[in-house]
Amino acid sequence: MMVGFVSNLVIPAVILLIILVAYLKGVPVFDVFVEGAKEGAKTSFNILPVMVGIIMAVSVLNASGLTDILTGLIAKPLSLIGIPPEIIPVLIIRPFSGSASLGMFSELIKKHGADSYTGRVLSTIMGSSETVLYTLAVYFGAANVKNTRHAVAASLISSYLGMLTAIYICKIL
C-alpha cells in the first residue's frame, strides 16, 4: 500500500516542485511550458517514420511465426543451464516489443501465480529490462544517426546479463 501511495505521488510531486521553484525565481511558467511543449510536438512527428519502420519489421517477425519457431528451438538447450522453458518467449521478445512482452507477462503471471518462482522471475525480468532495440531505434533515429556502432551489441549483451541475473537471483532471494 505504502509503495502504491509513493509511486502515485511521484509524478504530481515532480511537476509541482519544478513549477514552484521556477515560479519563485520569476519565470513566466505557463508561457515557458507552452514554448517547450511545441518542441515536443515537433519531435513526435519526426519520430513517426522511425516508428512505422520498426513496428512493421517486428510485426512481420511475429506474424510469420518465426518468433515461435525460435522459441521452440532454443527451449531445450536453455533449460539445461537452469532457464525455465515457460519464460523463454518473454526472453526473446523483450528487446523488440514492449507491448508484446507485457502482454505475455500478464498472461503467464496469472497462469503460474504471481508468487511462484516463474511469476517472480518474470516480474524481475520485466522490471529490470528495457525494450532495447526499440528504444535505441527511436533515440538514434531522432538524432539522425545512421551508424550506431557498438550500441546494439553492448545493450543486448548487458540486457541479457541482467535477465540471467534475474533467473538466478530469484532462486536465492
Binding site: 519544478i18 511543449a37 515536443g40 520498426i54 506474424a63 500478464s106 511469476g119 539522425n144
Partner: protein, 193 residues
C-alpha cells in the same frame, strides 16, 4: 547497423511466412502495423508535449543545472568530451532522473532530447559518438527505484507480497547497468561493426 537489422528482420519474417504458410497473416500485420505506429505516436504526443514543456520550465528555473552539477563527476567519466556548460549535461541528468523515478512516459521524451543534445556535441554526425552509445546502453538497463508497472500487474494477478521482487529487480538492473558501462567502454576502443 539499423539498415542491416531492418532488412534481416523483414527478410527472415517473409521467408518464414512462405514456409509456414502464414503469408496472409504477415500481409495483414504489415498494414496493421502502420495503424498501431500512428496510434503509438498520437498516444505519446501528449506526454511528449507535457514533459518537454515541464523540462523547459525546469531549465529556466535552474533545476536542471543544479541536477547536472550534482552528477558532474559521474558524467565526466561516462560521457567524456561534453563541454561543462553544454545543455547535454542537463538533458542527460533529467532523463536519468526520470528513469530512476519511474516516470514511464516522461523517460522517452527526455531520453530523445538528451540524445539530440549529445548529437549536437557530436556535430550532428551520422556516426554515433562514444557518449551517445553509452547513453543508449544505460537506458537499456532500465534502472528504477519503484517499478510501478510490474508491481501493479503483480497485485492484479493476486500476489500476496507484490513488493517482494523489488530487491531482485534492483540487483538485476544493477548488473545490467554495470556490465553495460564496462562493455561500452571496452568496445568503444575497437571497430567491431
Amino acid at each position: 547497423m539499423l539498415n542491416v537489422i531492418w532488412i534481416i528482420m523483414i527478410f527472415a519474417g517473409v521467408a518464414t511466412s512462405l514456409l509456414t504458410g502464414r503469408t496472409k497473416e504477415v500481409s495483414e500485420a504489415i498494414l496493421e502495423s502502420c495503424v498501431s505506429s500512428v496510434e503509438l505516436v498520437i498516444t505519446m504526443l501528449g506526454a511528449m508535449c507535457l514533459w518537454t514543456g515541464i523540462m523547459e520550465v525546469a531549465r529556466k528555473g535552474g533545476l536542471v543545472d543544479s541536477l547536472a552539477r550534482l552528477l558532474k563527476r559521474i558524467f565526466k567519466y561516462l560521457f567524456p568530451g561534453i563541454p561543462d556548460e553544454h545543455p547535454a549535461n542537463g538533458a542527460i541528468a533529467m532523463s536519468i532522473s526520470a528513469d530512476l523515478l519511474g516516470l514511464g512516459n516522461a523517460a522517452t521524451p527526455l531520453g530523445i532530447m538528451a540524445m539530440k543534445e549529445l548529437s549536437n556535441v557530436n556535430h550532428n554526425s551520422p556516426v554515433a559518438s562514444n557518449a551517445m552509445v553509452m547513453f543508449g546502453v544505460l537506458n537499456a538497463a532500465c534502472i528504477q527505484i519503484i517499478p510501478a508497472t510490474v508491481l501493479t500487474i503483480r497485485q492484479q494477478a493476486g500476489s500476496l507480497n507484490a513488493t517482494s521482487v523489488m530487491p531482485c529487480i534492483w540487483i538485476a538492473s544493477f548488473v545490467s547497468a554495470v556490465s553495460g558501462v564496462i562493455l561500452a567502454k571496452v568496445m568503444e576502443k575497437r571497430v567491431y561493426i
